[in-house]
Amino acid sequence: MVYKNIICPVCGGSCDDVQVNLDKKNGTIDVQNACKMGNAKFQEVVSHHRILKPTIRENGKVKDVSWDEALEMAADILVNSKKPFFFLGSETSCEAQEVGLHIAEYLGGLADSNATICHGPTVMGIQESGMVGATAGQAKNRADMIVYWGVNALESMPRHMSRYGVFPRGYWTKRGRFDRTMVTVDPRVTPTAAASDLHVQLNPNSDYELLSAMFTILNGKEPHPSVEEITGVPISVMKQTVEMMKESNFVAIYVGLGVSSSYGKHRNIEIALNFVKEMNNYTKCNIGALRGHCNVAGFNQLASYLYGYPFGLDFTKGYPRYNPGETTCVDLLREKDVDAAFVMSADLMDHIPAESAQYLADIPMICLDIAPCPSTTAAEVVLPGVIDAMECDGTFYRLDNVPVYFEPFTDSPFSETKSNEDTLKQLFAKVKAKKEA
């Protein structure tokens, strides 16, 4: 049967035009309009490596158990922990993340999500400076200049350029690519840089200096000549870029981890945001983060709405605290500051530095996921995951913080659970029963 307008649950692009032909009888799925990553994820519905049974590790051996046994053991680990840590990954719905946050609050633990190892510093920069933002649709219809700064959009969000950024025909950009100028700022010659009109190839870790110099130029002053050696970019190119921006009608800047993850971190974002504010004295200019993980923006929205902070939530004192560098995932694990972990819909072991990963493998870990990965290998308890937007409904937030409600085209393959939200609710009930016993 053919299903149309399915939401893709892979990256922050949340493409809503995916067409799926699912043949349950023969176990095949044909996917149209999705990118390579999206197509691969849709194939998971019928894949042979899907995790279909809960497992536990007993005396070093992994064995299949019933759902009830797995949930019991998971609840035991969490209840017996003095400081449990919840990594509520982004490849699931806000509804599931919400239950996870409530369990963390109930147990006085800590909760974090992919934001912390993704655009966490971007969010911190926004807290410092505020943000001139726009929805992706605004950029599509209005922007005649696109800047990809520290992001390889063609490979991290493959359809961004064709859906929102560069190629689509917008209301005021009717000729699509021909009505737009595209600039990429990246130390590497990426496919995105190769497709650009101008590639500003800066030295690694010099984003702050480059932005400062461009800010100086925007204010009509001459930057110090040493900035050429530091950034590897001639001042004439900086001036040309600033002029191109000023002469455009609407500039949309998309930042990636190249800005927020290199030296300078949230200060890079802070100055970029201030630069954008200043640029609005000359033309319309906005900035947005190209959020690679599916519902990573959703966790920020949800945690801010529920507890006042966007990520790195610490409930150990009975009320929410937020101190990046102390209450955030990589730091907690590096400092060996938690004694059990619940990892949902994210292969955390794969994404964090060795010191943190080693400690994560040392402590009891419960992992909810759909396919074998380093996190499931190191976990004490593995709970099979339900694939959001394919097997259950829920809400994602798109890269521009627009909520997107998704509906499934097939059912959960498990009689024991309808969704990850359902699994977490069952776990929460067991945790409460044990805690209050």
């Binding site: 197509n39 966490g120 690694p204 290199s262 949230h266 060795a354 074998p372 990965c373």
Partner: protein, 129 residues
């Protein structure tokens, strides 16, 4: 050789990771790779494999080499994956986010075996279980 490490997405890394294929040879071939420019490759003696070593020399990972014009001298790139994160600086500068871009590393020729993702997690992180 001292270098600055850049990590990030490649389309096939994304395809394999999202498709649940992290324990396949294809994933190892795509991600256990160190990209560098021809100049750096020559200065290292044109090795088939290199060890990328963290700044404090505590962690090391063996990778195949890939020569590309996408890189400048003194910079190396590893697709974002468990191999890259072995040598990413864990310090977050009080932001929560490690230095996925611009971590200082050492790069040396090696004959060490290239581990699969599963071998890496069991041998390096789980103490050889």
């Amino acid at each position: 050789m001292e270098a600055l490490l850049n990590t990030g997405s490649t389309i096939d890394e994304g395809r394999l990771a999202k498709g649940g294929s992290k324990y396949t040879d294809d994933y190892t071939k795509e991600c256990a790779v160190c990209w560098m420019c021809a100049e750096d490759f020559t200065s290292l003696g044109c090795p088939e494999k290199v060890a990328v070593i963290s700044r404090d020399r505590k962690y090391s990972v063996a990778l195949t080499t890939k020569v590309t014009e996408a890189m400048r001298s003194g910079q190396v790139f590893i697709p974002r994956s468990i191999w890259a994160n072995v040598v990413v600086e864990p310090d977050t500068f009080s932001t929560g986010s490690p230095r996925y871009k611009g971590s200082p590393v050492f790069v040396e020729p090696t004959d060490d075996e290239i581990l699969s993702a599963e071998e890496l997690v069991t041998k390096m992180y789980m103490g050889g279980e």
